[in-house]
Subunit: 138 residues, 2 copies
């Protein structure tokens, strides 16, 4: 499965905009800011494969709810123990879905004591949103 | 499979923002402008199902490339006859993928003479992008 950064960078490469000067000291934000590949130029087969991988990670009701719960949670982070009850799923199932989101580069994890806390990666979600967005009008 | 409008409206209902005054005479744009549900409040099971349906329609390399080709094409529209060669897929396969995008509310079609022309629905893509976007900072 592709990683959100790789996919977006591949998309930017596709439209030849990856060499834009950095906007901030954050390569992910630069990637997000650099292009709207779906709308601007035909996506290469390789870029489409990577982007589809990230979107597949997102295209699941349980994972969408997890991402939503994590972001809506106090401090924008949550541990597995706080996510099982609202979803009505077992801890192994929740852990599986979180792993898919992690591997896609959509969430990060931080182990503190016995628990692992998950946090959405806003720049990854922004980058995906930019890639999906249609060409700006005007 | 859900329709992009239905999914976004369900998301907006979830966060209780569907009663915002209309921004423009376009309910889809209003929906897009009204909320960022993944980030703002836990997504309901029903809204997550609908949104996952639309994302699944998008989460396919051939369909991503089709959406990209259509938008990059002259006039922002293309017929099946213009899409088979760049994708290297048969016409029935391309037609199948276009039907999935159509049913998800991501493209519209217009029959002119013997050909059917497909066009991306920018407001649907914008709405999806808004739903995916993280909470705005600041």
């Amino acid at each position: 499965m592709g990683n959100a950064w790789t996919a977006v960078n591949a998309c930017c490469d596709t439209v030849g905009m990856a060499t834009l000067p950095p906007v901030l000291d954050n390569p992910a934000l630069d990637a997000a800011a650099c292009c709207s590949p779906l709308a601007r130029a035909p996506l290469s087969a390789a870029a489409a494969e990577q982007l589809a991988g990230v979107l597949k990670a997102l295209a699941d009701p349980a994972r969408l709810r997890l991402l939503s719960l994590i972001q809506a949670h106090a401090g924008g982070e949550a541990c597995v123990c706080e996510l099982t009850e609202p979803l009505g799923l077992s801890q192994p199932t929740v852990s599986h879905h979180l792993r898919v989101l992690l591997e896609a580069g959509l969430v990060s994890r931080d182990k503190r004591g016995v628990w692992v806390y998950y946090r959405a990666i806003p720049t990854a979600l922004t980058a995906l949103a930019v890639v999906i967005s249609p060409a700006t009008t005007g």
